[in-house]
Amino acid sequence: MNEARTDLPQGTLDLLILKVVALEALHGYAIAQRLQKISRDVVQVQQGSLYPALHRLENRGLLTADWKLSDTGREAKFYRLTAKGRAQLGTEEANWRRLTEAIALILAAREAGA
């Protein structure tokens, strides 16, 4: 199973975080779990790099956070998307689509040619 896991391409962690948080406000652990689930354990997210990424996005004003009482009875930090973050998500999604389509096209062409 480990062999099947792929490292995230550079810069895509931010995009995934924005996407996950776009649906609802989540705390850090939930975001990590969600990422694992959504990617069906294919994409390996280093937990160590998740939190710095969250803080970076918060700093850039793409995410905002509130401390709320959570299911454990303790306060937890819940991240949610800001308007700026939503716009950024849109742009990055579009970019990503264009990129993957272009790469798919290139790959298809090579196979056809071979």
């Binding site: 705390h27 850090g28 652990y29 990590a32 280093q46 937990q47 160590g48 790099s49 939190y51 710095p52 990424a53 803080h55 970076r56 700093n59 401390w67 454990t72 303790r74 306060e75 937890a76 930090k77």
Partner: protein
């Protein structure tokens, strides 16, 4: 930006939240694993493993916050302060040597800046040009004035002078400027109160408002307390009433750097302020004005010079002397007028002190370098001692750049107080220096207010210093492999490479110190030579009274008699042992030079036939203690109508008479054709005595009888008094009242001959004093550096030395071992320093007197002193090394 600031202010809360967030993550992960069936302990371990190092993640999150650099700086500074507090001696030595180094550099730079670099505080100073070649006559200025608007964007003339504000008796001098009507307009200086001069004010004998004067801000404050109604008040200059019409801004001190002005008066008034004499306005051989012009926009210096040369024939033709030797006139017509840039004004003080100051700038720069080398080796030693601390921090996850930054901020902590202390020291020091070069006769004034350029210089020096002494240890700290450093503690065997940097630093220090010591030696010897020259006068204190007869009603033909009466009057005063009047006071810097010919001797070439002249009363040689070697002194017989007589000095006899007997020879003074004075008979030969400056060889000198000068005698003379007992300065009061009875309109000013001598050697004295001081400082620093490096080497090689001794090495052998290493470093430093000294000394050859720049004795002396200090500095740790107890070292093993 506000975000960053906010985050900085909320830092503590953010830290708590970060901790809580990560802990929350761990709790949830652990709980999940426990639910999956893992044991509590195993679950916790897995969770932590997956998150990665708790502290590392925190660090990464802090990095993401974007306020890292600032936060770290604060942290580093706090930590640095703690570290520095723990080693107060190091901190004190470092901060003080930096303060001294930075302060000395700033002080000298302040002077260099205000004397050499700074542009005059006038409109667009770059356009200002000056007519080269000394001073000019008023007729020449008038010619240029008529043509100024065609040639330039305006021209002006001025001359430094002093005005006497007193009604008579002892003078009350203020610094003055004779200014043409366009002076202030061409400079672009406007009045802050009232107005400045117009061309009409500059008319001869005063303009429509009569004689008017413009005063400086400082004078306005001093004399009128800054009163608004100062404009319109009367001000008496040399006995003539003027009206104050304006005040100039506080930053304007005139065009002569090194001098400030109090009162400016129009050139057209000059003849009114002098009584009985040739017109200074019409005199075609009265060279007294500086001429400046402002270039037209876009006009180059060369173009302006060309334009001026175009009208030169007319200017020269209209201003040539009616009489005079034809070859002199031809020279006069041919001599091309040339303009030079004058953005930073003109200055005699600059000519005199620029080179010594630049030399001192280099000296203090080198001292700062030595201090840096010292601090660098101290830092390296400390960094080695702190390796465990640094490696521990590396192991705990600090990045290498972070460590380097921390060491640099420690250095900043040392350098910033050093710089602040240095600035304070510099303000005091530069004032002190200006006070030193200021003589009683020549008050030196420099604008020493903190200028942006000085501040920028200090800032640059501080940052440069910090980097210089801090960067190497910081880089090395980054290279320590943590595991190695933690393992490697205590012991230490030979061949360990970490202290190696101390060596090169010592070599550099020794080399630079040798350069400084050699320089100091040269300057000190120059000064001692000058101070112990045989000046041909005895060193009894003499009082000099400058007599100024410009305001006297006595006509030019009666001046010699007036001076003789003054001499007679003061000679009778109690306490006066001798008195004499001379046209020129020795060492005053004034001079009078003429061509001579001795009858019956071959005629000498033009330059060769020049000798310096003085006109003196009887008793002059006694008063100055200059012995007469042959013949007699002047006496009552040598007056008007009697046979003209002269006394010459030995140098004159050597040059003009090839050492033949001089007495009885006829001396012809060459003057303008038709005015040849009767030949004078040589009646005495005096011992060589100084004329203008102790630096020049004593020139051939002719003393004429003052009583025979007739109308040639000018309205200035010097009265010299020798006191019977005590200080001659005490005679001043009695002399003032006595001379008032001779002529109440005679202006007087007093000074001591020793002051003149002192100020004529001030440049040399200053250079000798300061270079000796800094040479000593360099020696001290180099000694400390060598001591530090050697001690450190001994402490590192303790084990090795202990083992050697256990194996039978003698104490003397150990001393040789330690000293040998130090001696090798010092020897290498001496060799490099010698090369550097010999190369550098060429640049100071003009500052030396009676010495060659490569003077071997001085160099050997400097090297000997440095070697002696080095032996002491390295000998102390060497002796300690020889006292190491082998048994103890082996037990420590």
């Amino acid at each position: 930006m506000m975000g960053v600031l906010g985050r900085l202010l909320r830092r503590r809360r953010l830290e708590v939240q970060l901790d809580a967030e990560l802990r929350d993550h761990l709790e949830r992960q652990t709980a999940d694993y426990v639910r999956d069936g893992l044991s509590e302990a195993e679950a916790r371990r897995r969770a932590q493993l997956e998150l990665g190092g708790f502290e590392q993640v925190k660090e990464a999150c802090r990095d993401a916050r974007g306020t890292r650099l600032v936060e770290d700086l604060g942290q580093d500074l706090r930590y640095g302060a703690r570290v520095l507090r723990k080693s107060p001696v190091f901190t004190l030595v470092a901060a003080l040597s930096l303060a001294l180094g930075i302060g000395a550099n700033t002080a000298i730079f302040t002077l260099v800046d205000s004397l050499v670099l700074r542009a005059l505080p006038v409109r667009n100073a770059r356009q200002l040009v000056r007519l080269e070649g000394g001073s000019w006559t008023n007729p020449i200025w008038e010619q240029i004035r008529e043509r100024q608007h065609g040639l330039f964007d305006g021209a002006m003339a001025c001359s430094d002078t002093r005005f006497d504000l007193s009604p008579g008796g002892e003078s009350e001098f203020v610094q003055g400027i004779w200014a043409s009507g366009g002076f202030f307009d061409v400079l672009g200086v406007s009045a802050i109160l009232g107005r400045t001069f117009t061309p009409e004010d500059d008319r001869r004998d005063g303009g429509p408002e009569g004689p008017v004067a413009v005063i400086s801000y400082a004078f306005w404050q001093r004399r009128y307390g800054g009163a608004a109604d100062a404009v319109g008040r009367a001000l008496v200059l040399n006995g003539v009433p003027f009206t104050v019409i304006g005040v100039t801004p506080p930053g304007f001190f005139g065009t002569t750097v090194g001098r400030s002005y109090d009162v400016a008066a129009p050139i057209g008034m000059v003849d009114r302020l002098q009584h009985g004499g040739d017109s200074q306005l019409d005199g075609r051989s009265f060279w007294w004005l500086e001429i400046f012009a402002r270039l037209k926009p876009g006009q180059t210096l060369e173009a302006a010079t060309q334009a001026l040369r175009g009208v030169q024939p007319q200017i020269r033709e209209a201003t040539k002397r009616e009489t005079g030797r034809p070859e002199d006139q031809a020279d006069f017509l041919r001599d091309g007028l040339t303009l030079a840039a004058a953005a930073n004004g003109f200055s005699e003080v600059r000519g005199r002190y620029a080179k010594p100051l630049l030399t001192l700038m280099v000296v203090v720069g080198l001292v700062l370098l030595i201090a840096c080398a010292n601090l660098a080796s101290l830092q390296v030693a400390r960094a080695n001692a702190r390796r465990r601390e640094l490696s521990a921090r590396l192991a705990l996850g600090a990045s290498r750049s972070r460590l380097a930054r921390q060491l640099l901020s420690e250095n900043l902590l040392l350098a910033v107080p050093g710089a602040l202390l240095g600035l304070a020291f510099a303000r005091w020091g530069s004032r002190l220096l200006v006070g030193q070069i200021s003589g009683p006769e020549a008050l030196v004034f420099l604008d020493l207010s903190l200028h942006y350029r000085v501040l920028a210089f200090t800032l640059a020096v501080t940052i440069g210093t910090t980097l210089l002494f801090g960067i190497v240890p910081a880089l090395r700290a980054g290279r320590v492999p943590p595991a190695d450093a933690i393992k490697q503690q205590g012991a230490g065997l030979a061949g360990e490479g970490t202290g190696a940097l101390g060596g090169p630093l010592v070599v550099i220090q020794v080399a630079l110190s040798l350069v400084l010591l050699f320089g100091a030696g040269l300057f000190v010897r120059t000064f001692t030579r000058l101070a112990h020259l045989d000046l041909g006068l005895d060193d009894t204190p003499l009082l000099l009274v400058s007599l100024d007869a410009q305001r006297s009603v006595v006509p030019a033909s009666g001046r010699a008699a007036l001076y003789a009466r003054a001499q007679e009057a003061v000679r009778a005063l109690p306490g006066v042992a001798g008195a004499a009047v001379s046209a020129i006071a020795p060492l005053s810097g004034m001079g009078w030079k003429t061509r001579f010919q001795v009858k019956g001797r071959p005629k000498l070439a033009n330059r060769e036939s020049e000798a310096w002249v003085n006109a003196v009363t009887p008793g002059f040689f006694t008063a100055y203690g200059t012995p007469l070697l042959a013949g007699r002194d002047f006496d009552r017989r040598d007056g008007m109508g009697a046979q003209a007589v002269a006394i010459v000095n030995e140098a004159f006899v050597r040059r003009f008479l090839s050492a033949e007997n001089a007495l009885g020879r006829q001396l012809v003074r060459e003057s303008e054709p038709g005015l040849t004075p009767p030949p004078a008979e040589i009646v005495g030969v005096a011992k060589d005595a100084v004329y203008r400056s102790p630096r020049e060889p004593i020139p051939p000198t002719v003393y004429l009888s003052l009583a025979q000068m007739g109308p040639d005698m000018w309205p200035f003379a010097s009265l010299t008094l020798r006191a019977a007992t005590g200080s001659p300065a005490l005679l001043a009061k009695a002399v003032t009242s006595e001379l008032a009875t001779v002529d109440p309109r005679l202006s007087l000013s007093f000074r001591l001959l020793s002051d003149d001598l002192r100020s004529s050697l001030m440049g040399e004295r200053l250079l000798a004093m300061l270079s000796a001081f800094f040479g000593g400082l360099a020696l001290l620093l180099a000694g400390m550096g060598l001591y530090g490096v050697t001690s450190y080497g001994v402490s590192r090689r303790r084990t090795e030395i202990g083992v050697r001794m256990a194996l039978g090495a003698e104490a003397s052998g150990v001393i040789r071992l330690v000293l040998g290493q130090a001696v090798r470093l010092v020897a290498l430093g001496l060799v490099i320093g010698t090369g550097f000294s010999l190369w550098a000394s060429r640049f100071v050859s003009t500052l030396l007197f009676g010495l060659e720049p490569y003077d071997p004795a001085t160099l050997a002396g400097a090297a000997a002193v440095l070697t002696a200090i080095s032996l002491v500095a390295a000998g102390l740790p060497a002796r300690r090394a020889s006292q190491i107890d082998p048994a103890q070292v082996l037990r420590e093993g």
